[in-house]
Symmetry: C2
Subunit: 352 residues, 2 copies
Amino acid sequence: MSSEKIIETPAVLIDLEVAKKNITRFQEHCDQYSIALRPHIKTHKLPSMAKLQIAAGAVGITCQKIGEAEVMADAGILDILITYNILGASKLARLAKLARRCNLSVVADNAVVVKGLSQTFSQEKKSLEILIECDTGAGRCGVQTTDAVVELAKIIYSSKGLTLGGLMTYPPMGKSQQVENWLKKAKDALATNDLPCPKISSGGTPNMWKSQEVPIADEHRSGTYIYNDRSLINTGHCTRNDCALSVRATVVSTPTPDRAIIDAGSKMLTSDLLGMKGFGLIVEAPDAQLVSLSEEHGIINLSESTWQPKVGELIHIIPNHACVVTNMVDHVYLIEGNRIEKTPVLARGRVT
Amino acid sequence: MSSEKIIETPAVLIDLEVAKKNITRFQEHCDQYSIALRPHIKTHKLPSMAKLQIAAGAVGITCQKIGEAEVMADAGILDILITYNILGASKLARLAKLARRCNLSVVADNAVVVKGLSQTFSQEKKSLEILIECDTGAGRCGVQTTDAVVELAKIIYSSKGLTLGGLMTYPPMGKSQQVENWLKKAKDALATNDLPCPKISSGGTPNMWKSQEVPIADEHRSGTYIYNDRSLINTGHCTRNDCALSVRATVVSTPTPDRAIIDAGSKMLTSDLLGMKGFGLIVEAPDAQLVSLSEEHGIINLSESTWQPKVGELIHIIPNHACVVTNMVDHVYLIEGNRIEKTPVLARGRVT
């Protein structure tokens, strides 16, 4: 049976062949420069995809939440970095339980977080590895200065139940030299203070093809590269044919000659713009503009397009941001040749 | 045990007392003007909330997707309007099955949709009621002219398995007179053509307190009023104290004096701006600005605030748009006095 007949819209489709190509290509890049690849599972949220990434050579995975890591460990993925400041008795108890069954490391950027981790892991047989999160210019989490790195490293190094795993950063895009300098200075300061720095982990998809420009980093974390999306096409980091994820939608109304309405709205595509205009690329009519979304409807402006959609017609949309779309659905459809597999997005909605 | 201890963040909290007040107040308004109230369940996605609305006097509920209606029917809610153009064999089969166990009506704005519905329901014992969706100025779905109303009404009226239920619109906000005129003209034209118009259904939360300004409408559909949100505070339609839904988050990092980072990002609050700046109102520090979100982090700009957040501190955020937030989580916490109930959001993620 054709996929048109058995897939109700809106639906998230994954072209498995393209996803596999994306996995292989970036793994080869990392291998070439001897960079360990630790993919972020936030994009796919699927143990099966994480296993493909590991089979291709990834050293382990990155998760953002304990709940995601629990799902992955349940599936037998046993090398996990959680890039998050973890706080609170309930979460720390879950973290300790998780650490007993996998090779787990986390990050911290402040002493309060380190204190909680130490209180918990001083009771455990195995110590927990902590990487210090560094703000190398992205303006998110992270310690701000080399002095702060050393100060926090001393606390971690002297804390029961913890080992100092090195440094971690989510770098600003396009500023490799700045990131390299920041991390080198911090690593040197750790050495000066007789503190270990066994690993430096950097990341990001937009800068992944330039990961070798931060040679001090041993490891690269990247998520979106497995599927790619409109934001990465737009910034020249991939082409339309590298996009593995699309949203299939049906034209449900054509109220005026210049307006068509589809059954994919913000509950499927999200409102993420990532600096662009419009909410996605319409594969069948790239000149038509997906100008606005309500929760269950997408409104297409046809005024600059020759496309004349019919009610009932199927279209496919490359969303602005792939990672957030997989979080909206309980299932995605994996498509490879004639085979279609409806698979649950097991790590979806794991907010804690 | 206090709710601080047992609720891991980020979490969606519902103040049940406030929600009940909101239900009662708008029901009283509708009763005063003899308007039937048919709440849209998209805001709460909870059968328990729909039952409270019906117990207060609502005539039934509104859903946008068959999947939502199935969940509500499973819970014993048996008067349902689905305000959506339904297309495709699989969905039509589900619709027929659903109609056998509840009092169901749907909308249509074109002949293709009507044809599909008729093909399906001509095989059923009970006919399906169809309301014609009218675009009275909101620029979404809907027929554009009175002539188009009459044309589609004739098709529905003569289609096997269908009955003509009247007119439905999602009106433009603040244009009651325009909506009234549009609908009156359409109703008159139906009468002139000896076509029935048993009901006219209008809707919207921003204009709900002026629902009586469209007296031709027999029914009002409203969703957000049960929880309210920052967008409705911002437009003067409610106050902070009328907001039943908040997102509890933890401060996880304070990297600089003017920046704090919380564990609620776009995976919890969504990127919906609804024309505003910032991603939510921080209850504990309304002068602090939630300026940007990544998936799992919210960045707060403290430069114009006297608040000095500490790592580990709990805060509460009134989101820009309540409806989309309940779609992000598998569970919400209903809070009433000392009682806390973790309840599954049963109609979450029902995209088809």
